[in-house]
């Protein structure tokens, strides 16, 4: 084990301090140390998007980020996107369209789709499919997910 590093960061608008080993990924820190288990581990190598979070306004796979790299960054996780009392339109549309089955991929899809809509409020179906190609879902065949995102567009 190497020395733990003190990291200061902002998660979902709240200042958060933590200690971690340099080898701990941001995903591990979020899940194991900070009780943010909404981000899921599907592959641990950047291929499924289940761990996606927004870091300084940019979508990243948190399994491919070191926890220490979060120092000074602002991070948004699924927990920060909406709550039962105040669902984000994407969350509402995922529910209405039955865009989840087992739901393990859902946080990653919603975080990714939010990053898309933040950047491009009116994506076409092709743009949605391209943006979400790094998010794997094995249950739905994507049909209802893509529809939910399209339906959550500003112009929809």
């Amino acid at each position: 084990m190497s020395k733990k590093v003190h990291v200061q960061t902002t998660i979902n608008g709240e200042a958060v301090d933590f200690l971690c080993e340099p080898r701990n990924s941001l995903l591990e820190v979020l899940r194991d140390d900070l009780d943010h288990t909404g981000a899921k581990e599907g592959c641990n190598n950047g291929n499924c998007g289940a761990c996606n979070v927004i870091m300084d306004g940019r979508l990243v796979n948190s399994c491919c980020v070191l926890g220490v790299e979060a120092d000074g960054c602002e991070i948004t996780t699924i927990e920060g996107i909406g709550s039962a009392a105040n669902l984000h339109p994407l969350q509402q549309k995922f529910l209405e369209h039955a865009a989840l089955q087992c739901g393990i991929c859902t946080p990653g899809f919603i975080v990714s789709a939010k990053a898309l809509l933040d950047e491009n409020p009116n994506p076409t179906e092709d743009e949605v499919r391209y943006w979400l190609a790094g998010n794997l879902c094995r249950c739905t065949g994507y049909d209802k997910i893509v529809r939910a995102v399209l339906d959550a567009r500003n112009g929809a």
Partner: protein, 290 residues
């Protein structure tokens, strides 16, 4: 994943000192999309990870129609294609920057990392070669420049010596009547490693009927991304025609010396090299005409 220490130098000089002190036991971290996965899977081991993203030169991104494009070695793909002016001037490079991993990977992955990782299948390397990219390297003995086509020496190996690292990449301004194109073949439509990737840049005559010059590079068919000089030269001075393009495609295919692996047999890769080269040169010609 074994334990390591982590450092964030804020200047090129500091980074050189750290890397020189640790020699082979240190490695550079840019976006981490190769490095973190390799460390985790114990394909690599290190004592010190030197995160270069806090160094200004590594984050620079500038374009000038007179002097060309400079990309800091750690600039992630999304910043490059997110710059409308750069995207318009270097569409061939954008072809590749837009297809590295998924959107989340592009939020971190850099061209510098792609080059230094020196995978034969690195997608941004063939377009960087055909755009006559040049790598600026810093090290204990100061800085030096190396053409991108000479940068990779073997799978996972580069010209970088102990203590050296990549600072930036430079590309000349595009010429009039020029166009570049990159395409790879993968079984899916995203999230895959190239079975074959081909980059081409062409400069056409004023009436766009013939090639003034051309550069062609092929990925995943040799131990390093391959600059097929003779394929480009075969086009120079020739008319733009199916026949000349086919000849260049044949030369690219002949230059390819692929291996068979689970991504494709050698035979299939050779075949694809010729198919893709033809399509990519056609794409580059199309862009040169636009």
């Amino acid at each position: 994943m074994h334990a390591f220490d982590y450092a964030t130098p804020e200047s090129v000089a500091d980074a050189v000192v750290m890397l020189s002190d640790h020699g082979k036991n240190a490695c550079v971290l840019a976006g981490g999309t190769d490095l973190i996965v390799q460390l985790r899977e114990n394909r690599r081991r290190t004592d010190l990870v030197v995160d270069v993203k806090k160094i200004a030169e590594l984050n620079a991104l500038s374009y000038d129609a007179a002097t060309g494009l400079t990309i800091g070695a750690a600039v992630p793909c999304y910043r490059i294609y997110g710059d409308a002016e750069i995207a318009a001037a270097y569409p061939g490079l954008m072809d590749a920057a837009r297809l590295v991993g998924g959107t989340g990977i592009q939020g971190r992955a850099s061209l510098g990392g792609n080059l230094c990782n020196a995978s034969p299948a690195g997608d941004t390397i063939p377009p960087m070669i055909v755009l006559s990219g040049e790598a600026e390297i810093a090290g204990p003995n100061g800085t030096r420049k190396v053409a991108v086509e000479d940068f990779c020496t073997a799978p996972g190996r580069t010209v970088l010596e102990d203590g050296e690292f990549l600072v930036s990449l430079h590309f000349p301004a595009p010429l009039a009547n020029s166009g570049a194109f990159y395409r790879r073949f993968i079984p899916r439509n995203e999230m895959d490693i190239a079975v074959v990737g081909v980059g081409a840049s062409v400069v056409l005559s004023g009436d766009r009927s013939s090639f003034v010059s051309a550069r062609i590079a092929v990925g995943a068919v040799a131990p390093t991304p391959l600059f097929v000089r003779e394929a480009g030269e075969a086009l120079a001075g020739q008319p733009v025609s199916d026949e000349t393009i086919r000849r260049a495609a044949d030369l690219a295919r002949d230059a390819a010396r692929p291996i068979s692996d689970m991504r494709g047999t050698a035979e299939y890769r050779k075949h694809l090299t010729s198919v893709l080269t033809r399509r990519v040169v056609e794409g580059a010609v199309q862009r040169a005409k636009e």
